[in-house]
């Protein structure tokens, strides 16, 4: 992944009339730190210092962080505590204070109690006090997620899935890191899918839906297991909704895709970057120079504006 020079990229996804080709072009610019805004179906781009650099305002603002991998201590990041603290500083410095934090998994590196304790301690220092989690595969090692659920899954169902509402937006936290089959991808499983179908049944189609899970719910790169085998089934239950946003982690880099009514977005890690799909022999940690590291880590600030059926996701690096 190319190092980004700027520290702010904005995507304002309007689901009414996105120009797919224009969107992809926008993606290409994203790598160099441009700002992309879709307004009324027309793609506009601005330089980072340009007129569009002002912060998106909406009815609901929250921030996504991911893959803090507490306990990891190898190149390129021997100090994941420092980078998570930098993420907290970044969150507290956002122009619109987020109401809560979503952590999309791999909280810990090895599921050790002290690793979870460490993350909890650091996140307590953040201005938003409410944190919602979903587990990553590193959080459920050796115990099928028992410890994770004891810590973070008090009001959850099954392996730790749940939903909640904030200011008219319906949030759904899914678990796709357990019971993985040889040769396969992430898995939601029949029980969770059944719950999901039931969970959204009563909602009106104008309810904005935000789904968050660790492994991407679209196939980013099957060879590296970057996808979820039964995600299509899950998304089929969300087809009738006008605005669906899927937030994932796992791949330690930002990526976006729009498919019909669904906008997919992955957040950067706060610990270490991973290579672009297929650009390295394996998805192992990318070893980068110390001065490049924070430019490849980050947080994602999300703003929801009712009525516009649009959601703005702003990725900021930790530089």
């Amino acid at each position: 992944m190319a190092a980004r020079t700027g520290d702010r990229i904005l995507f304002d996804h309007n689901h009414d009339g996105i120009d797919r080709r224009g969107f992809l072009k926008c993606m290409a610019w994203a790598g160099t730190g441009a700002l992309c805004v879709v307004e009324g179906g027309v793609l506009k781009s601005y330089a980072l210092s340009g007129p569009g650099a002002k912060h998106a305002k909406g009815d609901l603002s929250f921030v996504q962080i991911s893959d803090s991998h507490m306990g990891f201590n190898k190149p390129a990041n021997p100090d994941v505590v420092a980078t998570l603290k930098a993420a907290v500083d970044k969150i507290d410095a956002l122009p619109v204070a987020p109401e809560f934090i979503l952590h999309t998994g791999d909280i810990s590196h090895l599921s050790k109690p002290e690793e979870f304790d460490n993350v909890d301690q650091i996140l307590k220092e953040a201005r938003p006090q409410e944190v919602f989690f979903v587990p990553g595969e590193h959080d459920v090692l050796d115990d099928e997620g028992k410890q994770y659920r004891e810590r973070y899954g008090k009001n959850t169902k099954g392996a730790g899935w749940y939903s909640f509402d904030k200011k008219g937006v319906h949030f759904i936290g899914l678990v796709n890191v357990l019971n993985l089959k040889a040769g396969g991808l992430g898995t939601l499983g029949a029980e969770q899918l059944e719950w999901l179908e039931d969970d959204v049944k009563h909602l009106s189609q104008s309810t904005p839906i935000i789904v968050f899970a660790h492994i991407p719910l679209w196939t980013v790169y099957a060879d590296w297991g970057w996808g979820t085998s039964d995600s299509a089934q899950a998304l089929s239950y969300l087809k009738r909704f006008g605005s669906v946003t899927v937030l994932n982690g796992h791949i330690h880099q930002t990526m976006q895709k729009v498919e019909g009514n669904v906008t997919f977005h992955t957040a950067a890690s706060t610990a270490f970057p991973q290579p672009k799909p297929g650009s390295a022999p394996s998805p192992g940690p990318m070893k980068v120079a110390a001065e490049q590291l924070r430019g490849l880590l980050g947080i994602s600030d999300v703003n929801v504006a009712h009525g516009r059926r649009a959601l703005a996701v702003t990725d900021s690096t930790l530089e």
Binding site: G184, G225, S282
Partner: protein, 118 residues
């Protein structure tokens, strides 16, 4: 001097024991072939190397994780199952029954391998 005599006596005794049947000698070497041996699988760049390992029954297989990311070694039928292996951690298993054992990393299920036991 006395010690030399004693050593000579032992050698003579051994020669007498072994000499009567060359058959006994070959029995002895046949046993050496089936004696427990060892084999290694390295986990590197999210792959098991060798991907397919052929061993004799009773061979102790050691998997070593050389990645910066934890992996597991789990047989598809759960006959063997390691804990999460951090960098340089090892897992050993000695299959006793002939057959083909497919296994994978339960954290990164795209990683698969097999052990063929003869």
């Amino acid at each position: 001097m006395r010690r030399h005599h004693w050593k000579f006596a032992v050698l003579l005794l051994l020669a007498l024991l072994v000499a009567p049947g060359s058959g006994k000698l070959s029995n002895f070497s046949a046993r050496a072939e089936t004696a427990p041996s060892v084999a290694e699988v390295k986990i590197d760049n999210f792959t098991f190397e060798p991907q397919a390992l052929k061993v004799k029954a009773g061979t102790t297989i050691t998997w070593t994780n050389r990645d910066d990311i934890p992996h597991t070694v789990v047989s598809s039928d759960f006959l063997f199952k390691s804990k999460a292996l951090d960098t340089d951690d090892k897992f050993t298993f000695a299959p006793t029954k002939p057959g083909t054992y497919s296994y994978f990393c339960s954290i990164h299920p795209k990683m698969t391998g097999k052990v063929i036991v003869e």
